[in-house]
């Protein structure tokens, strides 16, 4: 009776002996590529530093500096505006296209292929392509996308729509195809019009897809970097009364990047503090999504 209690499945026991092989590489790389930089990043946000080895603790002053930075504030509101406007446009169009493509129109597959295509192109290249197009148009009016904030804003929105509508469309199509055909037929027999069927039967049944896409486009909008950098790079800039500048089309990620690498190295602590704030923001959105979908799953 003195033998130790078995841990159930003895296959597991045999597998455990190989933990080093199965987990080793990922744990090592994950530590290098994520865990350690993350911890160090949190620590450095409370420090003054130029390089990682000369850090001195300064408390929360980095955070105070970050929050007081007008360019950071501006980039936050600019990012929020971009994210919300793109969210609405992308989802409305993506859903409309997905709905149209599930009506059994000839050539649906071809359309789907074309709409999704921009997703494969990287953000930098996208930015380059669209800056050429916008400048091609605006040059006829003797202006450029780099000269006016509103051009930069709507330019970026158009670019995001072009890139992401196809992506969201795929998710919506999957959602729409999962709605049982007989449910729609039942609605028809019950006398619902096409619009009633859409709003009363179909949309409630694709709510999970709508939730996913909403959060996805929101976080995409907040994390946007490559496209922002390549399209306008933050230009045009405004000179503040105190002599500092605000890049008017600069989003959060680019603002953090510029604070790290394109201003004095003394600002790196501030930049890291901004990065932590940014992380909290984006992670908050992610957790909200998780909590929301969990709740729905429980309800279903």
């Amino acid at each position: 009776m003195s033998k130790k209690i078995g841990r159930g499945n003895s296959q597991t026991q045999a597998t455990r002996r190989w933990a080093w092989l199965f987990l080793g590489p990922v744990v090592a790389a994950f530590t290098i590529g994520f865990v350690w930089p993350f911890i160090q990043g949190i620590c450095l946000s409370f420090c003054k530093f130029r390089i990682t080895s000369d850090a001195t603790f300064v408390g929360i002053s980095n955070y105070q500096a970050a929050l007081a930075d007008p360019s950071f504030q501006h980039s936050f509101w600019y990012t929020a505006a971009t994210a919300v406007v793109s969210l609405v446009l992308i989802n409305v169009f993506a859903f409309a296209v997905a709905y149209a493509l599930t009506q059994g129109i000839r050539g649906s597959n071809l359309y789907r292929t074309v709409f999704f295509m921009p997703n494969l192109i990287g953000g930098i290249v996208l930015g380059y392509i669209w800056s050429m197009i916008f400048d091609g148009i605006l040059s006829h009016y003797d202006t450029s996308i780099l000269l006016e904030t509103k051009y930069g804003f709507w330019g970026l929105i158009i670019l995001m729509c072009w890139q992401q509508i196809g992506y969201m469309m795929i998710i919506y199509i999957a959602g729409l195809q999962a709605v049982p055909e007989d449910m729609i037929e039942a609605a028809k027999i019950d006398g619902a019009t096409k619009w009633q069927t859409l709003f009363r039967v179909i949309i409630p049944n694709v709510m999970p897809s709508i939730t996913i896409c909403t959060f996805l486009s929101l976080t995409n909008g907040f994390k946007l970097f490559d496209q922002n950098l390549a399209l306008t790079g933050g230009l045009p800039y405004l000179i503040q009364p105190d002599g500092s500048t605000i890049n008017t089309t600069e989003m959060l990620a680019l603002n953090i990047y510029n604070t790290f690498y394109n201003s004095s190295t003394a600002a790196r602590g501030t930049a890291q503090a901004k990065a932590v704030i940014f992380f909290v923001l984006v992670a908050g959105l992610g957790l909200a999504q998780l909590a929301y979908t969990r709740k729905r799953e429980v309800q279903q």
């Binding site: 296959q11 597991t12 045999a14 933990a19 092989l21 199965f22 987990l23 590489p25 990922v26 744990v27 790389a29 994950f30 290098i32 590529g33 994520f34 993350f38 990043g41 450095l44 990682t52 149209a100 493509l101 009506q103 059994g104 709409f115 999704f116 295509m117 997703n119 494969l120 192109i121 990287g122 953000g123 930098i124 290249v125 380059y128 392509i129 669209w130 800056s131 050429m132 400048d135 091609g136 040059s139 992506y167 795929i170 998710i171 999957a174 996805l216 994390k223 970097f225 490559d226 990620a253 990047y257 790290f260 790196r268 890291q272 990065a275 932590v276 992380f279 984006v282 992670a283 957790l287």
Partner: protein, 286 residues
């Protein structure tokens, strides 16, 4: 009578819808068409006559492509090479090691596994800016700043999504198959490689596609980690061309962009079905 009318109306609606969709479709390919057109134009005409077809006056022919090869103080050939090396190695590493780790995590019930899994899910919501400075320093110290070693950084930063997706799939595989393998004579390592890995094929494809799309197009991570004077991937190369805006030859740039899009589009058309499936799977999970 009534029924005929509704059917006719439905047909008409469908026809209108088709026309609208076709129009949007054309709009959708226009930017790419613009790239193609302008890659054959002389520099000065790109900006002024962006949407005009090349004329005898603006036609540059293949000269843009020839010029593009050595353009921007960096050989385009090398960019392509490095992009391919980094993408292939990173995706390979991620697929092999993350599927192994995911199987272990899904099958062994320990606190350590739970912790790793939690960290993986957590890492999926952490934006790159949070770790970019410290990660690039760490990578420098560990000499992970070459195209041959940067895949380790990708494995580390990309492990989250891959492990999350693999764990989800492994849990749907009945345990009995692995038990049968154990009775048939497999140890854990063999069980994984001869029995589990082949069953993971659909997820391997999905994850592989997501990783390829990410790594191939990624700009910020390589630009911060790699030694830019020596190693530039395609996105870095193109962004650095733009750095010298105004003096840059737009025609030649478009030629380069065209060259960098073509393989992507071929890849897309070749594995379209898998890509769309993979993206949908990744989105629903993430």
């Amino acid at each position: 009578m009534d029924k005929q009318q509704t059917l006719a109306a439905e047909r008409r609606n469908k026809a209108i819808l088709s026309v609208v969709l076709a129009a949007i479709c054309i709009l959708w390919v226009l930017p790419v068409v613009a790239v193609v057109i302008n890659s054959f134009k002389l520099n000065t005409f790109v900006k002024t006559d962006t949407f005009a077809l090349p004329t005898s006056e603006s036609w540059a022919g293949m000269a843009n492509f020839v010029k593009g090869m050595t353009f921007g103080n960096y050989p385009f050939k090398s960019s392509v090479l490095y992009s391919v090396v980094i993408t292939v190695l990173s995706t390979g590493l991620i697929l092999v090691f993350c599927s192994m780790a995911a199987w272990y995590i899904a099958r062994v019930d320990s606190l350590f596994c739970k912790a790793i899994y939690f960290l993986c899910v957590f890492s999926m919501v952490v934006p790159f800016q949070m770790v970019m400075f410290t990660l690039s320093k760490t990578a420098d110290v560990l000499k992970l700043n070459t195209p041959w070693t940067i895949p380790i950084v990708y494995l580390g930063f990309g492990a989250g999504l891959a492990i999350f997706m693999f764990v989800g799939f492994v849990k749907s595989i009945p345990l009995e198959i692995e038990e049968a393998a154990a009775i048939d004579g497999c140890g854990p390592v063999r069980t994984f490689f001869s029995v589990v890995l082949p069953m993971l094929k659909p997820t391997l494809i999905s994850v592989g596609i997501l990783e390829i799309m990410w790594v191939w197009n990624d700009y910020l991570l390589p630009v911060l980690v790699l030694d830019i004077n020596k190693y530039r991937t395609i996105p870095i190369h193109i962004q650095y061309l733009k750095g010298s805006y105004g003096t840059v030859d737009l025609g030649a740039t478009m030629a380069l962009i065209l060259l960098s899009i073509i393989p992507v589009i071929i890849f897309y058309l070749a594995c379209q079905k898998h890509i769309i499936k993979g993206v949908a799977a990744g989105a629903v999970k993430g």
